[in-house]
Amino acid sequence: MEKKTYSLWNHIRYFMGYFHKYEGYMIYPVAILYIVCSVLNSFLGMAFASAAVKWLTLEKAGKALTIILGYVLLLQVVEMGESLGMEKIYGKFFLYRASFSREFAKHCLTMDYQAMESVEGQKKQEAARRNIWSGNEDGMEPVLRNIPILLKNVIGLVLYGTLVGSQNIYLLVYLFVTALVMCFLTGKNAKRHTRILEEENKKWKKYSYLCEEITNVKNEKDIHMYHASDWFINSMKKLQGEIMYFVHKARIGYFGVDICQLLFAGIRDGVAYGYFILQMMHGNITLPELLLYLGVVAGFSGWMEQIFESIRTMMENKPIMDNYRDFIEFGMEDTTGKTGKIASGSKHEIRLEHVSFTYPGKEEPSIDDVSLTISPQEKIALVGMNGAGKSTLIKLICGLYQPQKGKIYMDGVDVTTIPKEHYFEEFSVVFQEVFSFAFSLADNVTCQVPEEQEKDRMITCLKQAGLMERVERMPKGLETVLGKELSRKGVLLSGGEMQKLMLARALYRNAPIVILDEPTAALDPIAESRMYEKYYSFTKDKMSIFISHRLSSTRFCDRILFLQDGRIVEEGSHESLMKQQGAYAEMFQVQAHYYQEEEVLA
């Protein structure tokens, strides 16, 4: 899918929507007050200075003094209005960024898993993340900040332009033509910057990865043992050089634009001075008028420069905003036509009809024409060599992946028509990668906010999972924070304890379908066998699908499916498969022989 880009105007409209949403109609009078006061602030200085010079040249110091005093008073009022408007408008930009951050997090949590997991999704997320986490000077905040600035400058430009035009229309035409040329150049340069940024982002991604990996304590054992420090530092240095190359390349473009802007400004000022001095020489204008008009031309230049600066800042940040909005609109679940209904929490039948799935960029399918029916309360085991397609099949059944060919049905309803959040509720899944969040143990088990947690149910589940004893020994019991990421007093769980935690989470979910994707891979055979006994007892009246490398662990299943190259090549109970003397039996015997040898050695 191609990256979406938006015009600057589109971004401005997008942000105006935010302004309106959070501030209501009151933002408009405040913005008008700020803009009027800002323009007046600039004009008053020139007008009063010109008037003061007029009275001074006429040697009427008293009048000049009155004018200066009047100016000071009026300036205070105008500056107060400007500050008030500024505080009301700018003071909240941080909060807007926080709300964007919330939107980003929500999208990450709710977007389609397959899209999120894809290389494209990962790239988009990484690019969008910069918009949120890169501070006040990067991404949306400068764009937001520059919207009122741009409005103010445009109004100032129109006012000053009228004054310049009243004196010499050609001068005004020149000013506008240079403005247009500069706009064109700025736009061209922004496009060039976007292209550079694309390349630069790739380097940043690698660089961030290296930075994080170096400080990851989990890697330190290997880094120390293999003396990988030099390799890491050299890689960082190399990437730094590459990043600096792109930074320099981008900056050269902006320097070029600056030179053009200075050149046009020089010509404009030269012409203005020449014209107005000639006018004075011919007696058409007085010195105070000359000062006023020169001030207006300079002011006009100032407004234009600020407009360019605003546009430039916005254009610089446009690619980052593009990335953000591209990600926010990427991988959204299409809810149209999702009218399929299933009885929530009841027993289900799952049927796969000629399902095939190929990972993006791969030619060989990971799941190839699989047809399968799993009845309610049936216990299924998926076994096979590494890369046979077991985990992919699980992800398809769970609804995390969508098959490219074939259909999956739950109780006869096509799962693509069932809203994802309803479908997911029917599964308790324990995946291969066991991990805890750096929140409280209670949060980890329930995955709910404290107000919704059922404490008694949680304790029952922890007891059933065999973790309650350990929890009772923890300093804060159920409220103990797991991991050290957010709390120095956080508790680290061992591999076995983590498995139990995952089991407790699955039990708490109490869904009618239980899926266990090699959750015991890190355990020794005896601990694994005990864990499976527990799983078996808790899933008696539920449909359950087990994946395990150790074939002995899944002997209790009603049906064992042996997968090879994405296809089910053998199917049946343990006994029937052993009788077949096929691939399953061979694998089982090899494993049995290995464990017997281990036993003898022990």
């Binding site: 010079v53 040249t57 910069r130 986490w133 890169s134 501070g135 000077e137 990067d138 400068p142 940043w204 660089y207 961030s208 930075c211 994080e212 170096i214 400080t215 990851n216 304590v217 330190e220 054992k221 880094i223 120390h224 420090s229 890491f232 530092i233 960082m236 240095k237 730094q240 990043i243 600096m244 930074v247 320099h248 900056r251 050269i252 902006y254 320097f255 600056d258 030179i259 200075l262 050149l263 400004a265 020089g266 000022d269 030269g270 001075y273 020449g274 001095i277 000639l278 004075m280 020489m281 010195l287 000359l290 000062l291 610089e316 940040n317 980052i320 050290k484 990421e485 120095r488």
Partner: protein
């Protein structure tokens, strides 16, 4: 009195941090501070020369020496142009150096991490510091300025 003392203490500690940061910046890249100072000087110089030449032009025009006024106006425009180019070049150099400095700072911290022995890395306090280290804002922030 105690409040004033505390305020002084806080203010002093801010300056202490500031000076420590400047020292690090100086150690990592000796050109960052001079470039920043040159940029500031160029900015002030442009303002000062602008004011000086403008007042000269007004005086000249009051004396009705229009040709001299024209010459002075030319000098003003030329000075603004040249100083503007100088400032733009310095600003470019400063922005690049800021990014480089930020990258060098990150590298310096990580070189330190890699020199730590494994045992002290497992220490809870160190662990926390390492997590914080990854929260240091991206250099992109400076790059975009």
């Amino acid at each position: 009195m105690r409040k004033i003392k505390e305020k002084w203490k806080t203010s002093f500690s801010y300056h202490e941090y500031g000076i420590a940061c400047l020292k690090i910046a100086w150690r990592l890249d000796r050109s960052v501070l001079p470039v920043g100072m040159l940029l500031s000087i160029a900015g002030v110089l442009q303002i000062y020369l602008g004011l000086f030449l403008s007042s000269e032009i007004i005086d000249t025009l009051l004396r009705e020496q229009y040709q001299k006024g024209m010459v002075l106006a030319g000098i003003l425009v030329g000075t603004n142009f040249l100083l503007g180019i100088g400032r733009a070049r310095l600003a470019m150099a400063q922005k690049e150096r800021n990014v480089k400095l930020s990258l060098s700072f990150k590298q310096m911290l990580r070189e330190k991490v890699l020199k730590l022995d494994y045992e002290s890395m497992e220490d809870a306090k160190k662990w926390e510091n390492l997590q914080i280290m990854n929260c240091v804002p991206d250099s992109r922030e400076i790059c975009q300025r």
